[in-house]
Symmetry: C2
Subunit: 218 residues, 2 copies
DNA sequence: CACTAGATGTGAAAAAGTTAACAAGAGGTG
DNA sequence: CACCTCTTGTTAACTTTTTCACATCTAGTG
């Protein structure tokens, strides 16, 4: 460990889920050990970055050997706290909402959408996998009862602030928002935005302006 | 302009689409001028960062006045090259694919999904908005004919490499990949990944580990 | 068991990105 | 038209992130 009590850098933290996912894939394929260089080829992140990232969590590897896959999984599993089920609410069951509801959070059975809400009476009562879509009026009570702390918002952007306020009032502290447009939340609530249009534009912008192989994200 | 011929920083480039989107919103609301400080409140990015970002494209504002909204839109529109239609192919028309196909790239009528492909005979022939889903075997010919250079991939991850190879062979140079798992592409092809599971995990990780208001992305 | 090949973890340097702070200049008012 | 207020654009400091390069250590071999 580089230093006791030194906080994990933001950039490192954002890479953990990807590390975790790939390690699970490796394990499934029966790979028992991995070297930073090989892992680097696989996930397209420089090996030095990988080693530096890993080092924040202790001395996880062995010189001249590499890393033990199942041990790494154990470590990252603990960091991501996958032992505890994450109960998630889906708010807004339009096309995208339905798709997400049916989406399989692959290899992550601790991520569970446990309730879904919409205002549209056409949709309310419908089943997404094994959960029944409820009316928004049930939201607060339901979220409290289910112990949900994470919400996925796929509502039209003009409603996203109102809906965010509602789920926060019910106890949600983490929001994944698919609507473009920032929402205002208290300090203790985290929001992650996924805006398909801007992602697409960013991609096209880089495609048109950088001929060489320049990575966009990580 | 800070310096002639100095390249736009990566971080700045990634923020352009968001700037553009908000400016369009402002214009729609009839706002004619905006100060970096007010814009900052709106999009939750420090005003210094905004001014610095803007400065890369010239002296866009006026002291003691702010920025002219429609002029900024003009500038960013040009940077994002919105005058030219982007013709996009959708490959994989499952739940998520359908949702994306019906998704309205709001305020961006230059982003157009012009064809869609799947292998599933249940889906082939179906209509998504006004385009008919075709069999994968038509992909190459169609993409060439339509002049498509961007593809959205929503196929199961085990096929994503094969499909990527196919669209690239047909002339695509920008790929938005929803499947987890990096794909291998030539230098001239750009890939942007959107992995819902890792986004969700990142969000939850930050929610559980950083009580204070620490931004995850920008 | 000694030796070689090869990998890790990290100090130090470089690169990239952010923020503070302010000089210069425009806007608007009386 | 002079003045006060306010905002930009940018210089410089600072922070974060990436990358290099290598001392140190382990695995595996003969």
């Amino acid at each position: 460990m580089e230093k006791k009590g030194c906080p994990i850098p933001n950039a490192t933290a954002r890479r953990i889920p990807m590390y975790y996912r790939y390690l699970k894939t490796l394990e499934e394929s029966g790979v028992e050990r991995i070297k930073s260089k090989d892992f680097s080829k696989m996930i397209q992140i420089p090996s030095a970055t990988i080693r530096r990232d890993f080092s924040h969590f202790g001395e996880l590897g062995r010189s001249g050997y590499g890393y033990d896959v199942s041990f790494l999984i154990e470590v990252f599993s603990h960091i991501l706290n996958t032992e505890v089920e994450k109960r998630i609410a889906l708010v807004g069951v339009g096309n995208l909402g339905k798709a997400l509801g049916r989406y399989n959070f692959k290899n992550n059975d601790h991520l569970n959408i446990v309730c879904a809400f919409d205002t549209d009476s056409e949709v309310v009562g419908e089943k997404i996998k094994d959960i029944v879509v409820e009316d928004m009026s049930c939201l607060e009570e339901r979220i409290k009862k289910e112990g949900v702390t994470t919400a996925i918002l796929t509502v039209p952007s003009k409603y996203s602030q109102t809906v965010a306020d509602k789920v926060i009032a019910a106890g949600v502290t983490a929001i994944l928002n698919f609507a473009p447009g920032r929402i205002r939340v208290p300090d203790n609530v985290k929001v992650q935005y996924i805006d398909l249009t801007t992602e697409l534009q960013t991609l096209i912008y880089f495609d048109e302006n950088f001929t060489s192989s320049k990575q966009i994200n990580f």
